[in-house]
Symmetry: C2
Subunit: 130 residues, 2 copies
DNA sequence: CTTGACCTTCCCATGATGGGAAGGTGTAGC
DNA sequence: GCTACACCTTCCCATCATGGGAAGGTCAAG
């Protein structure tokens, strides 16, 4: 399987596959005589793992840690859980920050007439000298 | 006022002030004979506006649009409100995405024993072949 | 044997921010 | 006036994850 098929099969773009290889997140695959990367099913499985970890918001570095645990058959599930819950806390913190911004702005907007006149509590507040 | 004092007074770092000037978000300030940037109160006011807009999650580009409206005394408040509500929607969308990740992961973690054994539904799920 | 789809590596760009180097300026204390 | 130190200037580099694209090699179908 060439990189294009591996990309198709895993949902990770060819560009990203090369990048993940370059930074050492995944193992370099075999090469054909002409230098093409050749992927087998286990490689694709790893790529899917990476894609899913990324889609759960893990950074590439955290994904590397998860990958190491995944491959380590003598891992303690406590280590995985700790990593996961720490990440959950970070996600929730970021979500809360975004929601706080949204709430503030929504509140300001609710007091804005939204017509042709220039008076606007949104700008007033952002530009207030406090 | 030199850039250090302006940074202090506005809460925007000197590095960022220079950057905002470079990309055209803010006007280049006056210069002293020796080439130092010289800021007056209106400049600091603008910088504070920028800082607040950024802290509400507006991108630098959106901040530029807000700044233009802020300076335009014949603006329609509807334009500001539209911009703000569009941004609120984006913020809420991002927050929801983060929370969905957190919920998924929290759910998986709740099924993980978190002990010395290797069995772990978190890794199982991330690595599942689906 | 040509064509087109694929592959390779290499470089550049994004967005917002910080770090740091090399060198000039301004001021306080002696 | 001289020294020390804090500040300023510009310039380059790094981050994080991703995409774009160029220049050139490979492969399979017609």
């Amino acid at each position: 399987m060439n990189i294009g098929q591996a990309a198709e099969a895993s949902g990770v773009s060819a560009k990203m596959i090369r990048y993940y290889e370059q930074i050492g997140l995944i193992e370099p695959p075999a090469r054909s005589q002409s230098g093409y990367r050749v992927y087998a099913e286990p490689n694709v499985h790893t790529l899917r793992f990476v894609r899913r970890a990324r889609s759960l918001g893990f950074s590439v570095e955290e994904t590397g840690a998860l990958l190491a645990l995944w491959r380590d058959r003598s891992r303690a599930s406590a280590d995985v859980k700790t990593l996961a819950l720490k990440h959950v806390a970070e996600l929730e913190e970021k979500a809360a920050a975004l929601q706080a911004m949204a709430a503030t702005l929504r509140h300001l907007a609710s007091h804005c007439h939204g017509d042709k006149r220039p008076d606007c509590p949104i700008l007033d507040k952002i530009g207030s000298p406090n």
